[in-house]
């Protein structure tokens, strides 16, 4: 058990180490006054905190809404709406994240909450679609067998449909995370803060060190989240 835990932790710890090393190095070795101003511990931790908040709040919300929405659309009464929604979602996915952000800016204005909301809406799409497709893809005979043996609809959903659809739902969540980590760095354009602050500032004043710090932490965050989801999936899905 302890050995297992260690195995689980080793990669996150390595990534945490790399991230910490990069931050400590860049903060302590600014190349000039601009870098020194932008890369302080206080500022770096603030943008990491903002970035995490952007990601987590929007992802948790999107997962809840996306999965519940996908389940609802897969129910017989809403099934045909679900098919239509699936297509709309597929089209929605082709809208670039920056455009989504810009759209929400024009409607709702500036700031962290608007950015979170835009990320949330954008992340719902793949989760909703995969949940619907995953449940829709469960073989009819399996569902019929479950019903025929006396499972009520709720049990069929929780014991049969959701577990079988789980890998597809997780794939949707992973897609959403990948999109979200990228899109979250754009939040800075509408005053949403996050690691995008460093990246965009670095680009506009042409200081590679600032870009590098922001980009490395953003990448580590993405890899870390994907890794954790992958581990959870591994633990839950053992039957394929």
């Amino acid at each position: 058990m302890l050995q297992n835990l260690w195995k689980w932790l080793i990669i996150p710890l390595i990534m945490l180490g790399i991230g910490a090393a990069v931050v400590i190095y860049t903060v302590n070795n600014p190349t000039d006054s601009i870098v020194a101003r932008m890369l302080t511990y206080e500022r770096v931790f603030r943008v990491i905190r903002e970035h995490m908040a952007l990601l987590l709040v929007s992802m948790i919300g999107a997962t809840i809404v996306g999965v519940l929405g996908g389940i609802m659309l897969s129910r017989p009464k809403l099934y045909y709406i679900g098919r239509v929604a699936e297509n709309i979602v597929n089209i929605g996915q082709t809208v670039p994240s920056l455009a989504v952000l810009a759209l929400f800016y024009t409607v709702l204005g500036l700031g962290f909450r608007v950015a979170v909301f835009a990320l949330f809406i954008y992340s719902i799409l793949p989760i909703l679609r995969n949940t619907f497709a995953g449940i829709d893809g469960v073989e009819r005979s399996i569902v019929e067998a479950a019903r025929g043996m006396g499972m009520n609809p709720f049990r069929v959903l929780t014991k049969i449909e959701l577990p079988i659809a789980f890998p597809i739902i997780v794939a949707g969540i992973r897609t959403a995370i990948v999109i979200n980590v990228g899109a979250a760095t754009l939040a800075t354009f509408i005053g949403g803060g996050g690691l995008g602050d460093l990246i965009v500032t670095g680009l506009s004043v042409h200081r590679d060190m600032i870009i590098f710090t922001g980009a490395v932490i953003a990448a580590i965050t993405a890899i870390f989240l994907d890794y954790m989801i992958g581990k959870v999936e591994e633990r839950v899905v053992r039957w394929t």
Binding site: I142, A145, F166, R238, W239, T240
Partner: protein, 370 residues
């Protein structure tokens, strides 16, 4: 046990009823096979019994109780259900699959465990080997067995089976059918069984209900159905070779006593003895068994000439297929045709030799019948 009264079903959006004013009674312990071409309403009828489909009209009585007034979930928990696609849950182990109904009924864990082991053994799956496997690791025949085990685990008095052996190859199917009949003899369930295969219907049933376009055409014992088909449709369905179909109705052990038992010889028999026996045999072959009467092999005339040796063991050839004594005469015929021989060795469940059936024996049965 099961009584359908004026049962009908019209699916939404359709004008022609899928099932029309159907009356049918299935006695306790009987296997009633619903048979007919696809679209005749047999599956619809079956699914109304456990209310996967709600009838448009009519009544269903189960042990005298009106099924339509019962909670459908409770109703289904007490009716075993097997379908052609089996519908095993891919994310659950075999043990979890089989334990589905007991778990839905909230049985205590140790009782569930014990019952799962019991029913898996009953269908011929070693619990220690298969319990922790996932369905994806099983062969088609094994999955069918799990499907049956899953339906039987909570000992439901009634079982509904929709082409349960439809998705496997003919040989496995015959084996599963025989095994199932053996189990049924012991358990005496009331079974409604759906198939489009008239041979299977004749073999498995106590009564056959022939359906066409949503209507019940004839409900009779297989024997009556073969001798007195109600109309042209039924006689076309059972086909011209009604005599041969009778072979489905007769088990080997019913006639084995009356035919030549073709005495086996021991594996230690001397060449002289083998020769003597060969001369007496009308199939020009002797059957060799070991000390426990287990089938060891056969010796033909040519085997004796081709090889040199002293005792039967040395000349003995492997037998490629046998039948069990509870198989039907039709099964025996299939094996003979497959082997290209005029005889087949009959063994019991433990592979012990019981006798030999020849093509001539089968002809006699058919002749007698006519």
């Amino acid at each position: 046990m099961i009584k359908l009264e004026g049962l009908s079903k019209i699916f939404p959006g359709h004008t022609i009823p899928a099932v029309k004013d159907l009356n049918l009674e299935v006695k306790e312990g009987d296997v009633c096979v619903l048979v007919g071409p696809s679209g005749c309403g047999k599956t619809t009828t079956m699914k109304m019994i456990n209310r996967l489909y709600e009838p448009t009209g009519g009544k269903i009585y189960i042990r005298g109780e009106e099924a339509l007034k019962m909670d459908p979930i409770k109703l289904r928990l007490d009716i075993g259900y097997v379908i052609q696609e089996i519908g095993l849950f891919p994310h659950m182990t075999i043990e979890e699959n089989v334990a589905t109904v007991p778990n839905e009924k909230h049985w205590p864990a140790d009782q569930v465990k014990q019952k799962v082991d019991e029913v898996m053994t009953l269908v011929g799956l070693d619990p220690n080997v298969f319990k922790s496997r996932y369905p994806s690791a099983l062969s088609g025949g094994q999955r069918q067995r799990v499907g049956v085990a899953r339906a039987m685990v909570s000992d439901p008095p009634i079982m509904l089976m929709d082409e349960p052996f439809g998705a496997v190859d003919p040989i496995t199917r015959a084996r599963l059918q025989n095994e199932f009949l053996r189990i049924q003899e012991r358990m005496g369930k009331t079974i409604v069984f759906v198939t489009h295969d008239i041979d299977e219907a004749i073999k498995m049933s106590d009564t056959i209900a022939v359906m066409r376009e949503g209507e019940l055409i004839q409900h009779a014992t297989p024997s009556d159905l073969l001798s007195a088909p109600a109309d042209e449709f039924v006689s076309n369905l059972v086909g011209r070779n009604r005599s041969i179909k009778r072979l489905h109705l007769i088990r080997i052990n019913e006639i084995l006593e009356d035919v030549n038992r073709a005495k086996p010889i021991s594996e230690d028999a001397q060449t002289e003895e083998i020769k003597k026996q060969l001369d007496q045999s009308d199939i020009r072959t002797v059957i060799v068994v070991d000390r426990n009467n287990k089938l060891k092999g056969i010796i033909g005339v040519n085997d004796l000439k081709r090889t040199t040796g002293e005792v039967a063991k040395d000349y003995c050839q492997d037998v490629s297929d046998t039948v069990t004594s509870d198989a039907t005469l039709n099964d025996a015929l299939s094996v003979m045709l497959e082997l290209g021989e005029g005889y087949v060795a009959v063994v019991n469940e433990d592979d012990q030799y019981e006798g030999t059936i020849t093509l001539g024996d089968l002809l006699n049965v058919v002749k007698e019948d006519n």
